[in-house]
Symmetry: C5
């Protein structure tokens, strides 16, 4: 169980702003998959231009003013943060603070937004629900919103921004607005994806609930606990976003136009609903756990009833047969002609009475 966000300790004592990639999962990813891809889309109302950027040098040379779409908005998206050089170059080129660069490279940040003089820095998490492993997966997204440029960094490859790219290329309406609206659109797709995570949880919980009803004895406290923990981790990643969007909505920065603010309010509404769903989910987990525990107690009760019924019926009968198994010289019953049958009849009577007694007490 991982409960610290990242092995932050490896930076202990270093001066602030040291550019080191810090991630807990770094070792789990094979070296071959650590590819870094960068693209830049430049667009204005009338068109767009996309460039693949191969190296830090390409980045240095990048100049939107040279492009076929002048007076435009540029979005640079970096996937994979293993090449700290790219981050350094971008930081230098666009005047990004050393502490911001450090945060971009440190996984396990809390979602937050910080306004600097020339840019707004926003961190949030793209979260997916892994149906097979029944766990959520984090992908930390950093966004730098400047007057003409938006730079985004994704910790790991993901296709979360594909709908936005498509809207830029196909739909075009989004091209009418500036960097603030692009920022909104990117945050919006991330938040919309949270609903998919909620649905993942929902299916999982439904499945567990169904199993609880059919095979209560097979359920384990471990899984119920994992349900709670995963929800908790999801909540931790989501609820700080309420503050983020609230700050963006009420931001005094001139980078966020007044007309865009209502959109951030809309996103905040969505996040509030996700957070409320998580709260409902917790209520459900608590309920399942209570049912689980009651179930254990109830099954113990059932087991003990079986034992008690059997013992209560047969122990006295065994006593009776024991009596007539004694070897006393003088035991008149033993000599009776129908002694054996009387004895059997007596025992049958006791048996029937016992059964009747237990039935009356509702033990069957």
């Amino acid at each position: 169980m991982m409960f610290m966000a990242a092995k932050q300790s490896k930076k202990a004592g270093l001066p602030p702003g040291s550019l080191i990639y810090v991630s807990d999962e770094d070792m789990e990813i094979p070296e071959s998959e650590k590819t870094v891809t960068v693209f830049a889309i430049t667009y204005n109302e009338s068109g767009f231009e996309e460039k693949k950027i191969e190296s830090a040098d390409d980045l240095k040379k990048l100049n939107p003013e040279d492009s076929s779409v002048p007076a435009s908005t540029t979005w640079i998206h970096v996937t994979g943060l293993w090449d700290t050089e790219i981050v350094r170059v971008l930081g230098e080129k666009y005047g990004i603070d050393a502490l911001t660069l450090e945060d971009i490279l440190s996984m396990g940040q809390r979602p937050k937004t910080e306004a600097f003089e020339n840019y707004i820095y926003t961190i949030l998490k793209n979260i997916t629900f892994d149906d097979a492993e029944k766990e959520i997966e984090n992908n930390q997204i950093s966004m730098i919103t400047m007057e003409k440029t938006v730079i985004t960094f994704a910790e790991k490859p993901c296709n979360i921004f594909d709908p936005v790219i498509k809207r830029i290329k196909k739909d075009g309406r989004i091209r009418k607005y500036g960097t603030d609206h692009l920022t909104y659109a990117l945050i919006d797709v991330i938040v919309d994806n949270y609903f998919l995570v909620v649905e993942g949880f929902e299916e999982w919980f439904d499945e567990v609930e169904k199993r609880m009803v059919n095979h209560p004895e097979k359920e384990s406290a471990g899984e119920i606990n994992r349900m709670r923990t995963e929800l908790f981790l999801f909540n931790k990643a989501v609820w700080p976003l309420i503050n983020v969007t609230d700050s963006l909505e009420k931001s005094e920065s001139k980078l966020i136009k007044k007309s865009t603010r209502v959109y951030f309010r809309d996103v905040e509404d969505h996040i509030t609903r996700v957070v409320e769903s998580v709260e409902t989910g917790r209520e459900i987990v608590t309920g399942i756990f209570d049912i689980y525990n009651s179930g254990i107690s109830k099954r113990l009760n059932e087991t003990m009833k079986v034992l008690t019924v059997i013992s209560t019926i047969f122990i006295p009968l065994t006593f009776i047969v024991g009596v007539y198994g004694m070897n006393f010289e003088y035991m008149p019953e033993l000599d009776w002609r129908y002694g054996y049958y009387v004895c059997l009849g007596l025992m049958l009577l006791i048996f029937v009475m016992m059964i009747a007694y237990f039935r009356k007490r509702g033990w069957f």
Copy 2:
């Protein structure tokens, strides 16, 4: 168990303001019942006029100024949201924001109120308690309050607004006031209905409590948990209304007249009482669950006492008869004339002493 409000995910990545009807229960409703009905009531102090609107075209043509009751207030009520064209037409005709239209069509919104320049948008839930299924049912109501017109949208058919219609037609006093008072009257009937839901819960809980007393072993943790969950969902739909009415009471919008504010304060009082009833209900559920769990433990205790009493009495007696069932050559007691009766007497003595002992310990 449904814990997300609506399959919001189907809209992930779409541009804001896309008019798509989003509802979790959409599939449960047969296509034939998806009828959309619209009516418009135009009234002023001296009279009223009611129109059934059959199509989006009718809506376009609707002009309260043509009506027999000039200088009037118009209330347009749409039941059923399956025809997004009607919503679109209304939005266009009355200048409603795209995000508002999107919210109207998305089920599972949180109750909220938002003031726009030319209208106030309010979402709330009409809730009914299904006595048979023991669950609450949601019907999302959206209200657009403008200077001369109130537009309401109900997700599903319901007769919640009948008393208001009757008051407009019969009583007439309500016709003296404007759209703000109509908005109040509509919210008020919805809130008044919450008391019926509370009564539904009350009856349910009474029933369960009675069963708990009479047949504690038949109760299930599942039902108690459902009591908790339904209350939780009800609360989720109700308590944000405190903010809604508070905002309306303190609204700076000129659409809410000062004289109407005291009424919203009154509604807020009602909601506070509903929320407090829910809180009391939770306390009761917690109590029932505690009693339930104690009951399981207590019954286990009873079961074990039966087993222990029977075993403790008969196991030693069985040992004694076993002793005299041994086949040793030389066992003097066996040859005694009254050995058998002495043995029976001894066992009776032990039996009586055991019973006395258990009675003293209070096990009977």
Copy 3:
């Protein structure tokens, strides 16, 4: 278990300000006891005059200026709210808002205070603890504080205000002050009575605690739960009063003189202490419930120890006697001269060792 304050639902859909008496307990009260009594005391520093008012007509004619004590303060007290006509007449005569009149007639209101232009409206609860039934009983008191007149309404007959009447008639000091001080005095006696309720709870809890120590097995989760519920209902009636007195203390209404405010602060202190006592009471109930549950587990442990000790001692012994009850042709021990005694001795040895073992493990 009643958890809604009153059958509010019977008013659903009625216009605001409808004068209907709404109470949950209405049916429990025999028709013959539904007597309405009204009196008016007019007083000034030098004297007082008391009038019994027999009908709504008497009320209409009531004119303090005609009385023998001019320039005076008048207190009208209505007991029993079954005659809505009296409330209507008072409302008309003194210019009381329709919503206020509606609240006066609706039982189950939350304690609150509302300042209107010409009066202050205060609702609170007179609560008594029924020692026999072990439950609290509510009596809703409404107060209208005007410049020259205080009108109070009590849901049911009670003698809570007797000390104040006595002070007006005998002591006289209270006659020096105006309506604000009378309001304070009335609230003060109600709050002072809460201490009696707290004492009632205290005695009840002491009794239950004593029983728990002496006869833990007779205690029931039901009673402990009722302790919690009654405390909860009491708290619900009391704690909103902190806001009420705070509002009165800080009231901007000129009806509350500055010199009276310190008294309301004093009452607020008292309520805070009542609320803290309730909190302590809850802590105690939690403790009792924990002890109760531990007690059930402990007694189960005791029962099982008895069973285990008896079984563990006698089952092996029964096995041994069974061995020598076998009918094998060739069993040398059976023919031994002292075989039987050796066998008995062996079993005694086992018995003693078992006892010693259990004693060592601390099972006795």
Copy 4:
């Protein structure tokens, strides 16, 4: 269990400011110990003078200006509040409000501070931990801070203020400052004593924890519950002091000099630490209770294992010997030469296998 602070009810209906001594413990104190002692210390930078005051008359005659130390500060300390005449005389002489006098005489007040025009009134509790009874004891202290005089009232005799008296008489530095600093010094010794109470709790809890480890079966839920309750009562007496010292620090009264405020901040720090210790204590009690409950369950498990092992081993063996105790005419094994030994061997084998099985399952 006492959960109301004092039998406040005996004052119900009396006019405000009635001087009646109200205490729960009044009856527990023998009449002979109800002695009231009063002393007055007058001091200035150069010296001090102490007077024992024998009666209310002495008090009336008391005039610090007559003393050998002019322009001085006077501290009057009253121990025991059974003589309400003394309180009345002091109230009259120094112009103390009737409500304040009433509070001084009512035990069970919450700690609070109230600023009046000519004095500051502070209530707090001197608390001691009774090691033998394992309970905390309250001694209510009231302080009136005036420009030249501090009057303190202690409910019961105590030597809590001895260090301050000593510092006035010996050390002398304290004599340089005024009444505000004396107030601080008095509050400070009371708060410092709370650390002793915390240490008392600490020793108690250590003792219980040690017993839990060594003789878990002897522990009782009752004691753990008392730990919780005493902590709770202690907290109730301590935490309102944070507000008291905060109010004194930020007081707008000119009776508190600016230079003294930093001292009150220091006291507030101490109280915060006491409150945090209480919180830690609660965490520990919760932990102990959890361990206690787990212990009960675990011991039940142990008991049942013993029973199960014994039963599982001997019940089948007893069955086997029963088989060969049957009296069928034709049972070939009975006639075998070594039948008996084979049978014994078979049973030994079963016995060994059973033991091995239980060992493998880790039951030993």
Copy 5:
């Protein structure tokens, strides 16, 4: 279990500002290890000078202006507080308030920051996780930030500040900034070390979780409780730091330059993440405890099933063999040729049916 921060009581009644070393652990440290070491580093942008200070006299003579690095920043670090004389001398030399000096010498302070006229006083805790003992260890650090000088006091020897010393000596960039930046750097290394503590907890919890899965019966409630307690103590030391850094960031003192504030915000971010990790840790402990308790109940269930199966199978069989062990004269079955085999067959049938029944109920 230690739950008070320090034996504060030994100072009860002393005047404020008494310089006495107060620590709970004082007795655990051998006298020989109570060495006090002091060093002073004076640096400016171009160089640095380090001095070991041997005695209080050395301290008095210390004058940074005499050093080879003029116009510089001086950092004086005191390790070990057993020599109160050193603290007194520093206090006198640099004009530190008596209350501050008292706090420096009192262990068990809460983290806090206080702005005085000529310095800022900050207390925080250096915490290490002892892997062997599984407990956290506190080292209280006090910092006095003045215009030209920073004085730090560590309760016990530790090498926490080594990275900062190294950066002053090697890296040099830090030498460009003033005392505020040094204060930041020192707080930063302390906070960075908290991540190591979090990792320590993480490893511990992982270990316990693994053991829970493999040998659930060996786990003890005691250890789980210690996990909770240690986390709680850690949290208590860490979370007040959020206020500390927030105060420093927003400090109005001119000792904190505006450019340094962003760094304190960065530290605050780190602390927030530590606090969130602690919260996650608590969630995990709660989960482990739930699993532990469910595990106990489940194992009890298993034990009882074994007992019930064995008893239910063999008790009826034993009854049957008892029947044919009776000594009645006339029992026809006994004389049957194959009576014995029929009886054995019958018992085998019952045995098989029982096994089938239990298998069907899922008890195997």
